[in-house]
Subunit: 245 residues, 2 copies
Amino acid sequence: MTRSLRRIDGFDVVAFDADDTLWRSEDSFAHAEHRFHELVTPYAPPGVDVDAALRATEHADLSISGYGVKAFTLSMVRAAVTVTDGAVPANVIGELVEIGRAMLTEQVHLLPHVPEVLAAVSAHTRVILITKGDLVHQTRKVTTSGIEHHFSDIEIVLEKDPDVYRRILDRLGVAPARFCMIGNSVRSDVLPVLAIGGHAVHVPYHVTWVHERVDDHDEDVVELASLADVPMWLGLVDFTSDVAG
Amino acid sequence: MTRSLRRIDGFDVVAFDADDTLWRSEDSFAHAEHRFHELVTPYAPPGVDVDAALRATEHADLSISGYGVKAFTLSMVRAAVTVTDGAVPANVIGELVEIGRAMLTEQVHLLPHVPEVLAAVSAHTRVILITKGDLVHQTRKVTTSGIEHHFSDIEIVLEKDPDVYRRILDRLGVAPARFCMIGNSVRSDVLPVLAIGGHAVHVPYHVTWVHERVDDHDEDVVELASLADVPMWLGLVDFTSDVAG
């Protein structure tokens, strides 16, 4: 009974996170932070840590503005004004706003293996996308990514907590035990799904936003080195024949 | 057969728009535009129309940033830098950003009769909310409005066009002919719903954002003077007995 060995037969829905799971995201933020540092430092009092000021502003703005590039751009502008005590010239602020606009329109860079993995998984089960962030930006990325057709549903949510996952599964009519989430954030993609009795797979990205880091938890987390390992983990590749030779 | 006279029996779902249908929205934008004018005019070249510059910037940014307060705030910042050719001081930009933050956190002001109307309609049929705008801001308004419990579903969408309405109705499993949308925008709440064979009611607000105005269309639009007229239009008030006296 090879079929019963296939983990995917235990799932009615497999969900993928988007940013830094299917396409690059954190790199653009890191680049923007670097430019912020270069542009704003000359106008800040000597010895002031403009990077820390930006992080603190972002953190303070999160509950008001939420996730995403527009919120981040507004935090950059606010931090630039505050950390320089109003000394930053308007043209520098104009550049910060342009950095945000460029992020909103830049091309989607898919991570390696994404199209093949989605094709393999969606051929066997219902595949959905669950992402946080800005409605207009995430929608633009999905529709220009060339992978939209693999997803039966696209959920752009405010926060990824157990309640939000429960609501999505209720709407889809799927039991948590028959659901598997795949993503790069232990905090957002793994722990809340395990908390409601679902399954989750962690596929780390080389950069993790400080806000998404979790240092200690008691859960046993399935971690795969690459998205390319997902089909095999799901039992979609008959690797036993290769091994048996 | 009084029952058959009740229009609401013909609907499986009645949907309400939110901004300027259930609560005030455009007034805050008008106030912000007024402050923009006051704050930026002193730094603009004489005779330059800063209001027109803001409107043009907003329009140009719409396809990139979408609807909502964060997009609007970024447009204010960008317009302030551009229209003053970089002469606007950072502290003025800081004030523009604060205006946006205040808009994101200000209390929801429900329009007259909203709680009673929602109570009356939701007692007889499924009621949902369909709104454009910013995910975090609209969610905050819904959850702090005190009327969230009347809605079985809350749809925050990027654009209100026939495709979006069709997708929502598909997901709810409702035929367009059994659906009625109520809102203040002919462009967003009425015409696209009629286009897919649904029903719609226009309840005008005293201010209409220029982007939402439509000057000519061939549709016969049901228009009610006040949200308070909705239950009667739906046949929920047995006014025949009053008339018969």
